[in-house]
Symmetry: C2
């Protein structure tokens, strides 16, 4: 993870004015082992060894692209930083002892072992790239299948510890920036409509109506009774509709002087603050991101923004600057980093 290769979140993606990233994950379990919550430590170690070998052994075509990371080798901050970068789940690090995961050099593919299921394949992609991510997840699945046998039922599909994942075991999601639909109060209507279509939308930061930074995760809920392809297409179509609605609303809002004022002030504060909490950063950068997408601001790309947002999350900062930072010291360092990163913003 310490190499110089560009990370997925440092690249520009499709529809990146609205879609930050795409994620597809597959839940799989070995046919000859109990589910993780019923395994002994020895069985867990055996599962880990087998998954690890399937990827890293000499026979694997992608062995050299991956590293295995033992959670025990990481500090607490490094572990939380993995969550902030969406590489592993919060559940995975909550009980990290003895756990490990495989990760590709560009951080776009990760394989958690012994999370809720034996194997959780996850593919992250910048921008909107549902079919690309699904294909890549499928390739990893196929590769693992060459040496591992997954629990599969001809009627139920892939067997998973939690019944909500039964079937395809696939969860596909897109992270959306919806400042305009949030601003004009459309999100609660949209959320209700989406749930009728088998999709769920949640704030990525903050809870309920208090979503911070207008960042949302839109994902499929149904894994049973429809194929991976159908689920991905459904999500793709709805995402395109949301993008279109968001863009239309942005175009109208960006002509409003009050909105222009808010965008300008947000840029001004970020470029000049000496103390900056993560919450305030998320709120202000949302306005700036909107301003860049609507060409009210320039000098900085949306990818610069995303790289910065990853860098200033609390644990990622602690991992980079030392874990004995107080919240106040972190706020000073964050303000310094943000000022430096946004120097060219105008």
């Amino acid at each position: 993870m310490l190499n110089e290769e560009k990370k997925w979140y440092e690249k520009a993606g499709k529809e990146s004015d609205v879609v930050i990233s795409t994620r597809v994950r597959l839940a799989r379990n070995l046919a000859d082992m109990p589910f993780p919550n019923r395994m002994t430590p020895d069985q867990k170690a055996a599962v880990e060894r087998r998954v690890r070998d399937a990827i890293l052994s000499g026979n694997s075509a992608i062995a050299s692209d991956f590293d295995f990371v033992q959670m025990d080798d990481l500090s607490n901050e490094q572990a939380v930083s993995l969550v902030e970068r969406h590489i592993v789940s919060p559940e995975f690090i909550a009980n990290a002892k003895g756990r490990g995961f495989l990760i590709s050099k560009d951080e776009c593919i990760s394989i958690m072992v012994n999370e809720e299921d034996h194997v959780r394949i996850q593919v992250l992609h910048e921008g909107l790239a549902l079919s690309e991510a699904a294909e890549m997840a499928d390739r990893i699945d196929t590769l693992l299948n060459e040496s591992l046998r997954f629990a599969f039922d001809s009627e139920l599909g892939y067997l998973t510890q939690c019944p909500t994942n039964l079937g395809t075991g696939m969860r596909a999601s897109v992270m959306l920036h919806l400042p305009a639909l949030t601003e004009n109060g459309a999100m609660s209507r949209i959320s209700t409509n989406l749930s009728k279509l088998g999709l769920v939308i949640r704030g990525t930061y903050g809870e309920g109506s208090n979503v911070i930074g207008a960042m949302y995760q839109l994902s499929n809920q149904i894994t049973l009774g429809l194929s991976e392809k159908e689920a991905v297409e459904n999500l793709q179509n709805i995402t395109m509709q949301l993008i279109s609605e968001e863009r239309k609303t942005r175009a109208s809002l960006s002509k409003n002087i009050n909105v222009q004022d808010k965008v300008g002030r947000s840029a001004g504060v970020l470029k000049n603050a000496r103390l900056l909490s993560c919450d305030e950063y998320m709120k202000l950068i949302s306005n700036v991101r909107f301003g860049i997408a609507e060409k009210l601001l320039s000098g900085i790309t949306l990818e610069d923004i995303h790289t910065l947002t990853v860098a200033v999350q609390p644990a990622t900062m602690a991992a980079a600057h030392g874990s004995n930072l107080s919240a106040g010291q972190r706020d000073i360092l964050r303000a310094d980093e943000v000022r430096k990163a946004l120097k060219a913003l105008q």
Copy 2:
């Protein structure tokens, strides 16, 4: 007033980190006329003619330095703008019909006719310049005395319509920027102490504890029983003490990261807002002025700030841009002017 000569408020003055400006005014009345509130229109016109001639006639040494302005020739916005620039008093324009005043090309000397008294000589000076301003006021007084006879009583001194001006008829004042003493809550103690010394301090903008922009007017209250020289010296000494106390407090506050943050954010908002009320401008520019004086910010001088502050007052803006501006349009224009003027601020 429309010439290109530098106005007093565009120049740097002494102790300008704390003292914006100095003002000395003398109240005088003609011996052979009733006080203004008891004069007929004809008598008012006669007083105006005599004062005007005393300055503008061929015999006057300073005739070519002065203009006479008839208030009837000015729009309402131009009149209010004179008050915002401290050239005439609010009382003077409240009942402006038939009134006029003399003003020097550099706007530093004005002579109001038929305000509360027949003659009000006022000298404005950038920075701390009490003796200079008092001397200049004295010169004008002497000059007027060559052709006019002022009401004077050997016991009471100069006779004025309001008894609070009896004696010297002099009011001297300094406009102070005291952001540090305001921030640390010292102003109410200071105000109490000053009143015991025969001085009064008031917010220049805003009322009571709600002073806007930490701008204060410190002036002498006593005109009877002490000479002009004593009054000026007293005010000068107290001002120097206040300057010293303010500077000490600034030096300590400017090391505080919260204060640095506030200064930075204020600069950021002023440099980027698209809508700016005069109230908000006054609050933010106070922090910026403090930041420049304490070298937390650079690129802009204190004189630039003062020129800008005069330019963005409501009536001055209306006089410059047309009187049919709505408050919202004025806030847009103000934000534009401020962004342009503070471009180099960093």
